[in-house]
Symmetry: C2
């Protein structure tokens, strides 16, 4: 078969990695794809010093690549929204398949992009957009296709997992570890996307769509970051036999779809609680297969390029065939709009930390405020004020309850005279 | 598109499960496949009381199904070799695609079956043959296709993992747990296939082929079971910070291919060491992606059916397209024969347990016999004889060394006057 010609747009970490994998593993890739895969052109503002691209056609104009009649597949690795979207739509308009690692673009503009691709009979592939080298998109779209997916939950931001792992292992506080993560290149200068859960929400939005066949709806994803997690809470979690992970969680029930990113306490003995550092992991529960889990590096040149090139090979294997042989962009032929539950309507268990002046009296009042609302308590830790401090700590684990009921209970508890300040609340899942 | 018609051969655990998933999840499956998937005929000696098949065409003749002109895909779930092979070849001869969960058949007769299928332009799919519901075949053939695979290692027999987990958690001995596993239905009346590693070797043979693009060569797989593992060794492993798992391991190096199933000590903190009970897990290391791991149920009606039906959906999505759009049976277009290393030529670390009459003198002699052969010691435990016993125990962990050198050292140690009986040796991998 004739070679497949690829145009790489962007030669940063992932673009360079993609160039590196396509050239280093060329022989292996040809054996797998059944044809050569050739880098025809590269668009970049500046060469990447880690790779020798001197023998290749370089341009600084990504649109020249998207319009190059020699090229079959455009690889969009420039990131961001506006130019990336225009680039992808131009490539589609020119009848080219697209491979992208851009989670923000797919989560926020996927519907428009996929519609354009379907109209043109081309594919837009995005395995690299979620959990780096872990083939989780393929697992959900194809490997688990027999199942009704009940829920999925994942550590899908390596920066956040690195920070939480360091906080637990070394007792360091959030700001301190974040600074190190920035020095190590794990976190951006502006860490908001990572630590406030926006990046994870982009990925979760895509995962939920391909799990349930629902529209991409990033704006309905509830997002809560890890910047308010304290070393105290990390230690109390440990004492209770739990660990705090920043999870993206989505479930499908008769009540609707949960779509939420927030710090979550999970039992320490569960495999996902033991996925540490910059690793990613996604658990998927299907009605036939039960629990499955997928673990690997969620970022970095090699892992992300592994996913980008897997998509290129998939296209190389199928691009000459009838369009119908390809899997639908969102895994389902028909997308059904199911209600995404507001966060007030989800149901989960809770960890509460209460600071109080008068511990004995408070506990009785707190217990009664919870009990009145039908919230039962699973575990309690009480701590006397440390020497020189005035506040006692009451830590509670509750059974599952609807969030709006918990909100109401928390307001009532915060209204008690001897309770000081706001409660700390972390959701608990027994994955 | 017109419906895909499936013939299910065998209505035992997996056949029943497949029928159940296809009917229970029919709506979901149609949304994913873009067409209906219909059970056209079922071959079974007796109805399965767990499923209502009264509305379906039943026969006791599997060959009638293989020849039924209405049927597009034959699902072979009768197991075993002779009839299954004839059934699969008959189906292929009649131009039908085949989905099978039969690891023994693929590992031992895959080359012949795939050649017949390729000649006829049909596909034989076998995701369910390895690690139940975990989509590991798809991950290796497609998801990680960009990589040169360096090594893979897996817990690919749930029975063995259940036994080793119980031995560790409860200090029970092998025979005792095996009996329970048989009562629970986890182990066959004749447990040889599971506990002696033959079942795992079948699966490893297939995994290595699709990882490296080498021929299926079950006969070259080294196989060692877990029936000789004692509670003593389980405890010493724990003391040294390790756990014993029955692993299938394959690596690709310049020296050749490792293909081996044996009890293996792995550091207790590694994720795969924490995959317990009947769960399966496969780790795969690729030169781009690094380490990845896939975890889930390795057997049972639902998980295995999940994989069978995923294969059916894959076929339904692509069967009307040009044959070239499908992935090669063994993932590579060209199969290259690389040398499988004899077990004497592999290199690994070792755990040795030595029983001796006179501990002090022996240790010096043992250390010198190892040192003469360039084998360095990583850790030592010495145990005085227990009250009423005469033998002291010396436990050693060594650094990596070629197995033939270790064999020679073991023979020399066993020749020492004060050493009693044979050494216990367990291979150690720092996965």
């Amino acid at each position: 078969m004739k070679p497949v010609k690829v145009g790489i747009c962007g030669l940063g970490t992932v673009g360079g990695g993609t160039f590196g994998v396509l050239t280093t593993n060329a022989q292996n890739i040809t054996r797998r794809a059944g044809r050569d895969i050739i880098v025809e052109q590269i668009a970049t503002r500046q060469p990447n010093p880690d790779y020798d691209t001197s023998a290749y056609k370089l341009t600084d104009d990504v649109f020249a690549v998207a319009q190059n009649p020699e090229i079959d597949i455009i690889v969009e690795l420039i990131g961001g929204y506006d130019v990336a979207k225009k680039l992808v739509l131009t490539a589609i308009e020119n009848g080219k398949h697209v491979v992208t690692a851009n989670k923000a673009l797919i989560a926020e503009h996927g519907a428009e992009i996929f519609a354009a691709a379907e109209a043109k009979g081309v594919s837009v592939m995005y395995e690299a957009a979620i959990a780096g080298g872990i083939p989780i998109v393929k697992a959900l779209r194809e490997g688990l296709a027999a199942n009704r997916i009940n829920w999925l939950a994942g550590i899908i931001n390596g920066t956040g997992n690195f920070i939480l792992t360091e906080m637990r292992d070394k007792g360091r506080d959030f700001a301190d570890v974040l600074q190190e993560a920035q020095q190590l290149g794990y976190a951006e200068a502006d860490p908001t996307f990572d630590v406030e859960g926006i990046d994870a929400a982009h990925k979760l939005t895509i995962l939920a769509s391909i799990a349930y066949g629902i529209p991409l709806q990033f704006s309905r994803c509830y997002t809560e970051g890890i910047s308010t997690i304290t070393t105290e809470d990390v230690q109390y979690a440990e004492e209770l036999g739990y660990r705090i992970k920043h999870l993206g969680i989505s479930c499908q029930s008769e009540r609707g779809i949960d779509l939420r990113v927030h710090p979550t306490m999970v039992p320490a003995s569960r495999p996902i609680a033991n996925v540490d550092g910059v690793l990613n992991a996604v658990m998927v529960n299907g009605n036939a297969v039960g629990d499955t889990m997928y673990v690997g590096a969620g970022a970095g040149a090699g892992p992300t390029a592994s996913a980008v090139v897997a998509d290129i090979i998939d296209l190389a294997r199928s691009m000459d065939a009838d369009n119908s042989a390809r899997v639908n962009h969102l895994a389902f032929n028909t997308i059904e709009d199911e209600q995404v539950l507001p966060i007030e309507d989800i149901e989960t268990a809770y960890y509460l930390r209460i600071q109080a002046l008068d511990k004995a009296g408070v506990l009785a009042s707190v217990a009664s405020l919870l009990s009145e609302r039908g919230i039962s308590i699973e575990a309690i830790i009480q701590r006397e004020p440390a020497p020189g401090e005035e506040l006692a700590q009451i830590i509670l684990l509750t059974h599952r309850v609807q969030e709006k009921v918990m909100n109401d209970a928390m307001t009532a508890i915060e209204g008690l005279n001897s309770v000081v300040g706001q409660l700390t609340r972390i959701r608990v899942e027994h994955l």
